[in-house]
């Protein structure tokens, strides 16, 4: 039973346009969310995070939105660049478990076309 779900295995967008990656979660105890980016043959690298006390967090071209009532978060990349082509993982943690580990989604492969 996946607690963090990324229902779109892949997404293709044109360079300069907006990329929107979605993530849903089922565990209501999750209160901290992260996005990781992964290039082939490399480990995942941290991109951006958001606490459940916020509904938006921005870092340059990347913005994460959190809708707690819908148990949904999304990552917006504007404008998209070819170098953004990678697999993006959504992850979550819960304070009640002492944040022992992150629970990851299955990932979305983003391809940005030049």
């Amino acid at each position: 039973d996946q607690q963090v779900k990324q229902n779109s295995p892949s997404l293709s967008v044109q360079e300069g346009r907006i990329s929107i990656l979605n993530c849903d979660y089922t565990n209501s105890m999750f209160d901290y969310f992260l996005w990781y980016k992964k290039y082939p043959a490399e480990g995942p690298t941290f991109l951006i995070s958001i606490s459940s006390i916020k509904d938006k967090n921005e870092d340059g071209r990347f913005t994460v939105f959190l809708n707690k009532s819908a148990k949904h978060l999304s990552l917006h990349i504007v404008p998209s660049q070819p170098g953004d082509s990678a697999v993006y993982f959504c992850a979550a943690s819960a304070q009640d478990t002492g944040r022992r580990a992150l629970t990851f989604g299955s990932g979305t492969r983003l391809q940005v076309q030049p």
């Binding site: 990781y36 480990g43 995942p44 690298t45 022992r100």
Partner: protein, 112 residues
């Protein structure tokens, strides 16, 4: 260089063999983790450790053994490898007060 390193980078083994994947970090992070990445499943937690000599099971621990005698090392052993353990394995670490994990480059393991 500081960071988290995994070895070997690639490993091919046969069913029934024992194999150990190594993980070393230089940040003195208290927490260390082993995840496996499989198509359609994303990253699944195998084992984690909160400190030296403290380990606990994750989501998919069967067939794996870990140890943590030193803070900086967290080896993962497949006692008797099976084809279903063919995967990419990632080690990660974080400090005690943070949520962000730092990952190694991974070990691609093939069990024939």
């Amino acid at each position: 260089d500081a960071g988290i390193t995994q070895s070997p980078r690639y490993k091919i083994t046969e069913t029934g063999r024992q194999v150990t994947l190594m993980c070393h970090q230089t940040w003195s992070h208290s927490y260390m983790f082993w995840y496996r990445q499989d198509l359609g499943h994303g990253l699944r937690l195998i084992y984690y450790s909160a400190a030296a000599d403290i380990t606990d099971k994750g989501e998919v621990p069967d067939g794996y053994v870990v140890s943590r005698s030193k803070t900086e090392n967290f080896p993962l052993t497949l006692e008797s490898a099976t084809r279903s353990q063919t995967s990419v394995y990632f080690c990660a670490s974080r400090s005690g007060g943070g949520e962000k994990l730092f990952f190694g480059s991974g070990t691609q393991l093939s069990v024939l």
